[in-house]
Amino acid sequence: MFREFAKGLSITLKHLLPGHSTTVQYPKERLPLAPRFRGLHRLVPTQTREKCVACYLCPTVCPAKCITVESGENAQGEKYPKVYKIDLLRCIFCGYCVEACPVEALEMSDQYELANFKREDFNFEKERLLR
């Protein structure tokens, strides 16, 4: 029995030796993200406007009901999102919105540092999402 103890503890102790730690010194060090990591949303811009055509598929598919879209008609007679808002406090980062988007206007960036001080700051309006 003692041998088994020693064997198990040796593995544990090995991890205590320098160079064996898996802890990352965040924020000085960061781990590489998976290629399909789902961070903060980003609305994709085109030359003149946002790519989004306000088709309402993302608010429809959103299980957390955190996306608000209001469509409008711009000067060219095109459909565009007058309002596009994501309430990040409700968002569960499932990525369905990105999957549903028929025009690839929405993507999820690798930004995950989203902590903030005020509730209002979690409301991401169109301008903020277009960055």
Partner: protein, 823 residues
């Protein structure tokens, strides 16, 4: 009946059915794009192909193929699926796939089928349509790039609306739906094409980019405009009625609507709605609380007692009218009336002494099967457009002979082989008398069981056909022929509308029409009917509930006279704008000025409301529960789609509060009120809310048999001798004054006009849009001219909806006004 088998299921259907209809009846699904229940089979899309055992070797379009005895139909097989998929692929070759921005996305038939048949790739390649997007008009947006050429819009516009705006033009790939000479649309804007389009090629512009179909909550209710009582389905979101959805499963209108019903809803969302009660303090209307306002009203009414005059509109629900009547009783006044007190007399004083009824004798759908139809006044299409569409279908589909007694041409006289009895203004009764005379002279009259025949015959001495023909300007033969057709038809209909602009001779017209209905045997006969249709959504309900002056009490006219002479203590005006819409504005003005206490209950701060001492904000039809009774006696339920803005309350709640103020008990809710009113209203005794289903409930049954059969002599009118005669009437795009707050109708007809016939316009050198002055006994009015070809020489027309025109300064309820025209 025919027996056939569809997908192994034994089915029995009528022998006129098509395979598609038989399958549908049996609950078997066959996809379609170009089929619509109310249109004739067409077979354009080829999506509904099925296999028929007896016709092996090719696939059969189920929507156009009639059933035959012993037919064995297979609606799905690997081959059918492949062919349907190919059809869809062909359609998608040129169809621009812009579902994300297309408002049809989510309820698009093509989208649904593409999904169902998993058309993810296309084996064919071809050019996409790149046609310019119409449209300059404010209501219908046409994008022919999305069109699948099913032809539904073409067919509905022709078969149902009878307008024929659209047609296919060009060939092959270039085929498209277009208007004459491919110009912009200039039509009735009823939007039937919108409701029929299976894809996003024709869309309602007011709803453009507003919401997705799946976000809308659907509520079935009844249109609040005219007495036709079409059911409408609100699509609501964010406490606003966003659009009117297509629904052909409820009501009698088959999903048909007019411009007002489809695009006139927007006034309920208007920012101008009254949201708080107003009270007059030192000459100014200021906002107040409900308690203060109601206390003031109760006090005012109590002081007035029997000196209170109550004027109601005909757009209140039955339950509300019932409470209003109770309120009149609680206050102790018999001065209760509605709709100007004059225009409905055709029912109360016309049909009552003759037929012993106060309602139309039959229902609208029966007219579709009529062989002969007589419409009195071409304006009927303007006041009741959807009933007008039933007449269209009777003429176009069943070859009914339509005759129109009218002083101007218009939609109905343009129908195929319609006979226009185009008479000089104001002589409708003379013509009706001549029709009766012709029947009696030719021995075609069905005189059995009729009372007062001798006296009636004597009264017709002066109405010999030839004499009337000369006096009215109608051909004698046309009169005789019309009389013959009406008498000989198996099913016939006599149709007359009434409303505020048609107060002249309303009683006489009712009697004359009833006389003719008796002599032709139309009254009370199965399949035939005499229709007297009210202008407003609950005109018939107001008559049924007897919102009429009590014996010895004053009607609207007398009330206004009394108020003007300082003999009335208070006026209570609910849901009506007398200043804008009643004839004789001077009298109304004087009455409102002289009356010590005026309460107005309305949606908007109307001109009348501006004169009031207390203004109570009420709820629109889209915000209330209740029932309307339409012009064919159909009781239909209203359901609230949205909440009232601000503190506005339903008329029901206001009446309840007032009744409480008088210590009278009131039903707790609308359902109890209906039970209470049904118990005391003749015809409603057996009706309860559970009986009012999707198609409503017609009190008195499909055919109402006359209680009495009295012929009552009625005098005609004398021709007005004047070079120019102005007719007052309703225009298609508006109903009453409410539609002036709705952006849809206002975008088509936004300002008042005076209509001229071409001849007169040429003689007076008046062109469209030119300002003209019309001088008459009561004053002078100025408006833009509109030149059309509807009017005969010497006749002008003005719609009554716009109070800015001041038409009721010169209109005192006469049939035609003698006027002078200057530029």
């Amino acid at each position: 009946m025919v027996n056939l088998t569809i997908d192994g299921k034994e089915i029995q259907v009528s022998k006129t059915a098509t395979i598609y209809q038989a399958a549908k009846e049996a609950g078997i699904y066959i996809p379609v794009l170009c089929y619509a229940k109310k249109l004739l089979p067409y077979g354009a899309c080829r999506v509904c192909l099925v296999e028929v055992e007896q016709m092996k070797g090719r696939l059969i379009p189920s929507c156009t193929t009639p059933v035959t005895q012993g037919m064995i139909v297979n609606t799905m097989s690997a081959e059918i699926r492949k062919v349907r998929k190919t059809v869809l692929e062909f359609l998608l070759v040129n169809h621009v796939v812009e579902c994300p921005v297309c408002d049809k996305g989510g309820e698009c038939d093509l989208q649904d089928l593409t999904y169902e048949y998993e058309v993810v790739t296309n084996r064919f390649e071809g050019e996409k349509f790149d046609l310019p997007k119409d449209e300059v008009n404010p209501l219908l947006e046409r994008n022919m790039n999305r069109c699948v050429l099913c032809g539904k819009c073409v067919r509905v516009c022709d078969e149902v609306v009878g307008f024929g705006s659209y047609s296919f033009i060009n060939r092959g790939f270039e085929t498209k739906i277009a208007t004459a000479y491919d110009r912009g649309l200039d039509c009735e804007f009823c939007g039937q094409c919108v409701s029929m389009c299976p894809v996003g090629a024709i869309l309602p512009r007011p709803f453009k980019f507003k919401a997705r179909p799946w976000q809308l909550k659907e509520v079935n209710s009844v249109c609040g405009y005219c007495g036709n009582g079409c059911t409408v389905t609100f699509g609501t979101k964010d406490n606003e009625v966003q659009t009117i959805r297509f629904n052909d499963n409820t009501g009698v209108n088959d999903g048909n609507l007019c411009v007002r019903g489809r695009f006139g809803y927007s006034y309920v969302n208007s920012k101008e709605r009254l949201t708080v009660p107003l009270i007059r303090v030192e000459g100014e209307l200021v906002e107040t609380t409900w308690d203060t306002a109601l206390a003031k009203v109760t006090e005012g009414f109590r002081t007035a007692g029997s000196q209170l005059g109550i004027i109601s509109g005909a757009r209140l629900a039955n339950e509300e009218l019932y409470l209003l009547k109770s309120l009149a009783g609680a206050v102790g006044t018999g001065n209760l009336d509605h709709s100007g007190g004059e225009c409905y007399k055709g029912l109360t004083e016309g049909l009552q002494p003759t037929l012993g009824l106060q309602a139309s004798t039959a229902t609208f759908p029966q007219v579709e099967k009529a062989d002969a139809i007589l419409v009195i006044r071409n304006d009927f299409y303007e006041t009741h457009p959807v009933f007008g569409m039933v007449i269209n279908q009777a003429v176009k589909r069943n070859d009914a002979q339509l005759s129109v007694i009218t002083d101007k041409k218009g939609k109905l006289t343009r129908m195929p082989h319609a006979r226009a009895l185009l008479h000089k203004p104001g002589l409708e009764v003379n013509l009706l008398n001549a029709l009766c005379r012709s029947l009696l002279d030719e021995g075609l009259a069905k005189i059995e069981g009729l009372q007062g025949l001798n006296e009636f015959q004597e009264s017709l001495e002066a109405y010999a056909v030839e004499a009337v023909a000369t006096a009215t300007g109608v051909a004698a033969d046309a009169i005789r022929q019309t009389a013959r057709e009406l008498a000989e038809a198996g099913n016939a209909a006599i149709i007359l509308g009434y409303g505020l602009p048609y107060t002249a001779q309303s009683r006489e017209l009712g009697i004359a029409a009833a006389n003719l209905a008796l002599l032709t045997g139309i009254a009370g006969r199965q399949g035939s009917g005499l229709y007297l249709c009210g202008e407003k959504s609950n005109s018939q309900g107001a008559i049924d509930l007897q919102i009429l002056p009590a014996t010895g009490a004053m009607g609207v006219g007398a009330m206004l006279q009394a108020a003007a002479a300082n003999k009335l203590q208070a006026l209570y005006i609910a849901g009506e704008d007398p200043l804008a819409s009643y004839p004789d504005r001077a009298l109304t003005e004087k009455a409102l000025n002289k009356s010590p206490f005026v309460v107005v209950q309305d949606l908007f701060l109307t001109e009348t409301a501006k004169q009031a001492d207390v203004v109570l904000p009420a709820a629109s039809f889209a915000e209330k529960t209740g029932t309307f009774t339409n012009a064919e006696r159909r009781i239909q339920r209203l359901l609230p789609g949205i909440k009232s803005p601000g503190q506005a309350k339903s008329d029901f709640a206001i009446f309840q509060a007032l009744l409480a103020g008088f210590g009278a008990s009131a039903p707790a809710n609308e359902n109890e009120a209906f039970a209470a009113l049904a118990a005391v209203t003749p015809g409603y005794e057996m009706v309860n809310l559970a009986m009012i289903g999707a198609q409503g409930y017609v009190w008195g049954g499909e055919t109402l048999v006359p209680e009495t059969r009295n012929l009552v002599p009625v005098a005609g009118n004398k021709e007005l001798k004047a070079r120019f005669q102005l007719l007052v009437g309703s225009c298609l795009y508006h109903s009453g004054t409410t539609s002036l707050h709705a952006s849809g109708p206002m975008s088509v007809v936004s300002e008042p006009y005076i209509e001229f016939g071409r001849e007169d316009a040429a003689e007076l050198k008046i062109t469209d849009e030119q300002q003209v002055k019309i001088k008459a006994a009561g004053g002078e009015i100025t408006a833009k001219a509109k030149v059309d070809r509807r009017l005969p020489k010497g006749v002008l027309f003005a719609p009554y909806h716009f109070s800015s025109l001041g038409l009721n300064r010169i209109y005192q309820g006469q049939a035609a006004i003698a006027v002078e025209v200057s530029k």
